[in-house]
């Protein structure tokens, strides 16, 4: 479909959610005020690892307003362990540490009081005795024999060690005249939303229902709470009409929710836990990947890459929920946009005494792109070829789609050369090189960074089965229910929370497009979890594809029924009935027609005018499976991962102050192709925001630890989020290669800026430092680190 066929899709329409937000009328979890609600504050472990020898609650319980003090032993007895992704039964994860605490900041005791201030006061009055234990922070050390064990019962710190070989890797390496190896490290950072995680729960003993309001973005949330609390899933009602104040993957507070759910049932009162920033950054279990890559590439003298060996070692932190799967998703785009014939991939995940991770934007793809794009640069450097030229020689060509990569995934569509050409038409590459060289002549360190990356989108979860054979999930789905009432007004439902992606606008726009009616007349609601159809939730850059697909098909069902009713009532064959803007007319005699109001009237009130056997009313559901889903991995570890692949090409000019090490981004262009843009304002915002987030991961953000295992970046004064000063003006150059697999040609767009920016910036920094003979492959590239490296190099 070309954009010219659309009425509302791809047009510059406002985002309906924005009205409530600019007026401060969002409904965030902290705004949910339940009468009599009790507040939770947490007591955390001060050691990197310690046995809990005693807990004295007496002083705390004497403080006015304090209702309860919960420890890990009581909670462990009353709940089941949290669900883990891998098959690691000896690595149990619970909301409160039980017997042993495994990282500094881990929650040990929860204090419940009438106000948050009272709860915090009482938390300070809890006396806990610890016996410190040996600990390990570094992933490589954690793999060594004799390392302290984070979970003794597991017998080692390695939770995952799986090697995949796709194609003739050894043969291709042997046949290649050139090889190079490099180590690349992605530092421990995360998405760190401005709203912390929060959850409010209330147990109704007379109806056996736990009502939950939470700042959540997670699949199977209600059922995981129910499982841990050992109550039927029908006894958990999650309210999806809570606005989530940013997530980008990480708002998965299952441990918070089980804790609060338990307390709400135990105390018979509403209970709320709204993390403060310290709780969020330390014990909120919301860190992101910390990944070490060993990359080997085999290539020929023209820079054509024939094969790659990638070893990825993930430092999970102390416990593992879904986080190890972040080693799995990149398999679906393991060669990026390049024609690499064979790949060996070793995925290693170890536990250490650091904060637990959760899903972060891109689910592991960002680090993998960094490794791949650093390798492309180093190949060019080794061959003394232009870095852009090396990439061009390896790109998958537009006429090669659909393109099967060695790991078993087929890319849907793309036109990488054109996207790159458009960026270069906007920014003359030769001029950019001259500008860099002028800066160098002026005494600056200046570099150009290039990164070409893919954004896999439409998330299903086949990586689960790839890394844990006990899981046999071969699809994810999303749903929409569409109802036209007896007055002819339209309501559509979606069945999850949103965290800024504009899903209500998405649903309204798609349904408006199909029905050819103003999207603003489509009311979009979010029923609670007990009234919902299945939703895979907004993970894996999937909602435009999946919720958009579900809404599209539900609207098509409505259209088909209206057309059938009209044809019957007009006494014409179905194929002559034409739907147009809600009305249906006879193609042969256009004056012969039924209006929307008439058709609604027949469906609701005139059964005698309906086709025989047709259901009355106008209500439709559609459950939409992930396109290309439905198959499990093969025995040799090949799988169709995500269906759609957006493309991005980043081009950055950056200078570094040679005395201070301060980087400054002078030019930033990004070519972006996510197929049809359902709402261009939203796509632009996602791309820009992703780049800003990527700038943070590349230059500023790190959950740094000291040698004692203490997190030393635990406030926004130490963990630096980019402000308006750090984010440059970015020009986005759009291109649209529609996906043949989706209803409107759309692909995902929530991650691409974040997936490519760190690689582009790392490449720019390395280009800038090349004259000094410095190569740096460890993120973040902090000012202090750059300054030291430059000083050292100049001192030589």
């Amino acid at each position: 479909m070309s954009e010219h066929q659309f009425r509302f899709v791809a047009s510059d329409r406002r985002v309906r959610e924005d009205r409530r937000f600019v007026a401060g009328k969002g409904n965030f979890v902290a705004d949910v005020d339940l009468p009599g609600a009790l507040h939770v504050a947490l007591v955390t472990c001060p050691h990197a690892a310690a046995r809990i020898t005693s807990i004295d609650k007496r002083a705390a319980l004497k403080i006015p307003g304090v209702h309860y003090v919960l420890d890990g032993a009581e909670l462990a007895a009353g709940t089941d362990v949290l669900i883990a992704g891998l098959d690691t039964p000896n690595v149990p994860r619970r909301p409160l540490a039980f017997e042993v605490a495994r990282y500094s900041g881990e929650w040990v005791v929860a204090v419940v009081a009438e106000t948050r201030a009272q709860a915090e006061d009482a938390a300070e009055a809890i006396e806990i005795d610890y016996e410190p234990l040996p600990f390990v922070l570094d992933a490589e050390k954690a793999m060594e024999k004799g390392s302290p064990l984070v979970h003794e019962a597991h017998g080692s710190n390695v939770l995952l060690d799986k090697t995949f070989v796709w194609g003739e890797v050894e043969k291709d390496f042997a046949a290649s005249p050139r090889k190079l190896a490099l180590r690349v490290k992605w530092g421990r950072s995360s998405t760190v939303p401005i709203e912390t995680f929060g959850v409010v729960a209330r147990w109704d003993s007379w109806r056996d229902i736990l009502d939950v309001w939470a700042s959540i973005q997670m699949p199977r949330y209600a059922e995981q709470i129910a499982a841990a609390l050992k109550i039927p899933a029908t006894s958990v009602r999650v309210h999806y009409d809570v606005d989530v104040g940013g997530s980008y993957g990480v708002k998965r507070g299952i441990k918070h929710s089980v804790l609060v759910g338990y307390l709400a049932r135990r105390l018979g009162a509403p209970v709320r836990l709204i993390e403060d920033r310290l709780e969020n950054m330390r014990g909120g279990d919301a860190h992101g990947p910390e990944r070490l890559f060993d990359v080997e590439v085999a290539f020929d003298n023209d820079g054509i890459v024939r094969s790659m060996k990638l070893r990825a070692l993930e430092n999970l932190g102390a416990y593992a929920g879904r986080s190890p799967f972040q080693l799995g998703k990149p398999i679906g785009a393991i060669v990026g946009p390049y024609k690499i014939k064979s790949v060996e991939y070793r995925a290693l995940a170890v536990v250490t005494n650091k904060t637990t991770q959760d899903a972060v934007r891109g689910f592991g793809q960002g680090p993998t792109n960094l490794a791949l794009e650093r390798a492309m640069d180093e190949i060019a450097n080794k061959l003394k070829l232009d870095r852009l030229e090396v990439r061009r020689r390896n790109l998958i060509h537009r006429d090669e789609f659909p393109y099967l990569i060695p790991s078993g995934t087929t890319y849907d569509s793309g036109d990488y050369e054109t996207v790159i050409a458009k960026v270069l038409a906007d920014t003359n590459y030769d001029e950019l090189i001259k500008e860099r060289d002028r800066l160098r002549t002026d005494g600056k360190l200046a570099g150009i960074g290039i990164a070409a990356c893919l954004e896999p989108s439409g998330g299903n979860a086949t990586f689960e089965a790839l890394l844990n054979p006990k899981i046999t999930t071969s699809t994810f789905m999303d749903s929409c229910r569409l109802n036209v009432d007896g007055n002819g007004t339209i309501t559509a439902t979606m069945h999850t929370t949103s965290s800024g992606q504009g899903h209500e606008t998405l649903v309204g726009t798609v349904i408006g497009e199909v029905l050819q009616v103003d999207p603003d007349v489509v009311r979009v609601t979010r029923p609670d979890s007990l009234n919902s159809l299945p939703s895979g939730t907004p993970v894996g850059s999937r909602m435009a594809i999946m919720l958009g697909g579900a809404a599209f098909h539900a609207a098509q069902k409505l259209k088909a029924k209206l057309t059938a009713i009209a044809a019957h009532d007009l006494g014409i064959p179905l194929e002559r009935a034409v739907y147009e803007q809600g009305n249906v007319y006879d193609r042969d005699k256009p004056a012969n027609r039924r209006t929307w109001a008439e058709l609604v009237g027949i469906a609701y009130r005139n059964m005698h005018r309906m086709p025989a056997g047709m259901e009355p009313g106008l209500a439709f559901s559609h459950i939409y499976p992930v396109p290309t889903g439905g198959t499990l991995p093969t025995a040799d570890g090949r799988v169709q991962m995500y269906p759609c692949f957006s493309f991005e090409f980043h081009l950055v000019l950056l200078s570094i102050d040679p005395d201070l090490g301060t980087p400054e981004i002078l030019r930033y262009r990004v070519g972006h192709d996510c197929g049809t843009q359902i709402n261009p304002k939203i796509v632009r915002g996602m791309t820009m925001g992703g780049i800003a987030h990527g700038i943070g991961a590349a230059l500023y953000e790190e959950f740094a630890y000291n040698d004692e295992g203490q997190l030393i970046a635990q406030s926004f004064m130490d963990y630096l989020l980019p402000s308006s000063h750090e984010v440059p003006a970015v020009k986005i150059i759009d291109h649209e290669t529609p996906s043949p697999l989706t209803v409107l040609g759309q692909k995902g767009s929530g991650e691409s800026g974040y997936l490519g920016a760190p690689a582009a910036i790392a490449n720019a920094v390395n280009d800038a430092l090349k004259p000094l003979g410095i190569t740096i492959n460890t993120l973040p590239l902090k000012v202090s680190k750059l300054g030291d490296l430059i000083a050292e190099a100049r001192g030589k």
Partner: protein, 164 residues
Amino acid sequence: MRIELSVNGVKHALDIEERTTLLDALRDHFALKGAHAGCEHGVCGACTVLVDGMAVRSCLMFAPQAEGSTITTIEGVTPGPGELSPIQDAFCETHGMQCGYCTPAMVLTAHALLAGNPAPTREQIVEAISGNICRCTGYAQIVEAIALAAERMRGANAPVEPRR
């Protein structure tokens, strides 16, 4: 302790624990939920309100320190139910937000900026919002919203040129 202050044009007296922050007082005592807690240590700016017209972090100010002050929150700059100020409307026009969590503070910061500088440059806008962290947008559409609002507000009182 008992304090008196003006909130969104209405004078109030209230009894409050000394250590209550202005942010908590606004949210818990006045049910003004548009002010948001982000970091509660004065970096992110999500709690920004106007105190005597200045953009101030309400998490760093105790409510008793606001004694005698005039406080304006996002609820106070919203003209009426369902009605938007020109700045709020401009944020909608450019989609200068995503999740909406930092948005009320951004809008108030923009109000404070434009009250003193009706024609800010891009650099001045960037400087004004540099104390408000937005994790979603990368700021571009926020900067554009404020520039658009400024342009519209400057034009609002200009005589309409007759068409030739």
